[in-house]
Symmetry: C2
Subunit: 359 residues, 2 copies
Amino acid sequence: MSESGDFNLSGWTCPLPLRSYPTVVMGHGSGGKMMADLIRHLFAPEFGNDLLKQMGDSAVLELPTGNGEALRLAFSTDSFVVSPLFFPGGNIGDLAVNGTVNDLAMSGARPLFLSAGFILEEGLPMETLGQIAASVGKACEAAGVQIITGDTKVVNKGHGDGLYINTSGIGLIPPGVHIAPDRARPGDAVIVSGTMGDHGMAIMSVREGLAFEAPIVSDTAPLNGLVEVILNVTKNVHCLRDATRGGLAAVLNELAAASQVGITFEEQTVPIRPAVQAACEMLGLDPLYVANEGKLVAIVPEAAADAVLEAMHAHPLGKDAARIGAVVADHAGLVVAKTGIGGSRVVDLPAGELLPRIC
Amino acid sequence: MSESGDFNLSGWTCPLPLRSYPTVVMGHGSGGKMMADLIRHLFAPEFGNDLLKQMGDSAVLELPTGNGEALRLAFSTDSFVVSPLFFPGGNIGDLAVNGTVNDLAMSGARPLFLSAGFILEEGLPMETLGQIAASVGKACEAAGVQIITGDTKVVNKGHGDGLYINTSGIGLIPPGVHIAPDRARPGDAVIVSGTMGDHGMAIMSVREGLAFEAPIVSDTAPLNGLVEVILNVTKNVHCLRDATRGGLAAVLNELAAASQVGITFEEQTVPIRPAVQAACEMLGLDPLYVANEGKLVAIVPEAAADAVLEAMHAHPLGKDAARIGAVVADHAGLVVAKTGIGGSRVVDLPAGELLPRIC
């Protein structure tokens, strides 16, 4: 805990490797190395506690019930600053609900209750706010969650971007479910629930004014139903992660690092829509690094993999699910892609900004 | 639930009384009538559920424990957009922790876990962020809570104001405690925990560049310890509310409306620091409407009032506590102040903006 007083800014020294950035840059919010450094070197030392160090999509906490047992809750928060507010397939409202629902679901929790905090910019059309509130309501209904507490703040014109939304959420983790980023084991199968890169390229196509024959549509969706399907096959799921900022590459790297294992995958088995692939090529982007808002990565014991995959295929959000690779004992902490031409390459954590303000 | 599609903005009609505001204005965030209208007419119909309708500082939810009983949790969220980020007595960091700690405490809960969502503006000095993170950590330690989950987003320069922080929190409500805005009963005593208006005038004095002989300092503080002291006297506390945006006037009006009772108070018994009084007179403000960040209003049965007051006086945050009035059966929904010269006046809910971006 720092001893510096509130007004004594001179006492604060910026720990490496933040020192090379005297100010916040867009990359600090992009889900890559720069954001990880900010959390590890600036926030964590000040907030430091064991629960924060779980570094999952949501924190897992235990509340004793008085009869010697405990309720296990997932608790998660996410702020949404996506630009533009409306995009093909959704808007900031349903994105904000689905984002927190998914973070809760990734610990195996059944999402129950959400909070909603709105930061409105003076001048936002009331009609726009009404549309977004309606989308929030519909997304809650679809995911089976309730917003039970909220907050509204207004900032002066020029100090926001229409609106920002924070959602936080509480979910209940069923007994016997223990999903965590550090539970991947050599031999486990790596499964993705569907096509990669749809959300990021939907945002990008609007921003860049790109027109494709078939428009690219965001995959924003609540994944708690799909997670329930997976847990009905086996409670022994090792890791779940929704592939948001930083895309599939960031998720695989985080899981490999947390579990201290290697991950290998066949690049050609990763499902990618042709339009997304084409748009990525046009813009010089790698779809493995592009954000999704309705796709998850599951790491499950090999023995359960086929049954999990079969169950996922029967769910609308898992119909394109594919087994893409495996956890290995070699190259701990590294993710290696086997390329179509028989070679292999290290797929690193993205450094900083790829597509800012994607969610 | 609205049926309007995400892109069909033309279908949305703005319900009265929002119609007179085609866009969001600062007053919609100021804790008064305009904000209440926004919540009631725009958000609530879309999110509508019984828990949201509790309209307390935090929502109360019950989780069955499996042995026929239930854990009662308080869940609350608050976004902080205070300007300037640093002010006499605190900064946005400790304000964000204390604000949510207090919202939880106002339902009688013991605050346990917080989330922290940071929206950073590109260009924010890393040193400033470090200072604020340190204040967040210290405030958590002081309040006895832990930040266990977080989120960081970065927005482009010119689309924020340094940083905004959302904190959400979970607390555990002890058995036998049932505090709610609709529980005030005629005959109850109305107690305030200390001087009114300190936080708002501390912010205002910095913004306006006012210099006083003794600087006005924000009262930002965690109130959970004081609440514990009160509950040790009696679990039968009817209402608790921290007097933030809209000040004492807003709190009394909200409680009178929710409980459908009248409230009367002696204006001269409300503790106000001379410097705050002087600053308010200079700026033409009524201190009853000015925000506090470490003061609460308690409505307790008359029989317990003296003992509660005595216990509060023994706590550092309650040493200036005062009984200011009573709940009455007359003029349901109205708050009436008895003035020093023997008259009386209705103290209404503030309409809109008094001091924007105070928290």
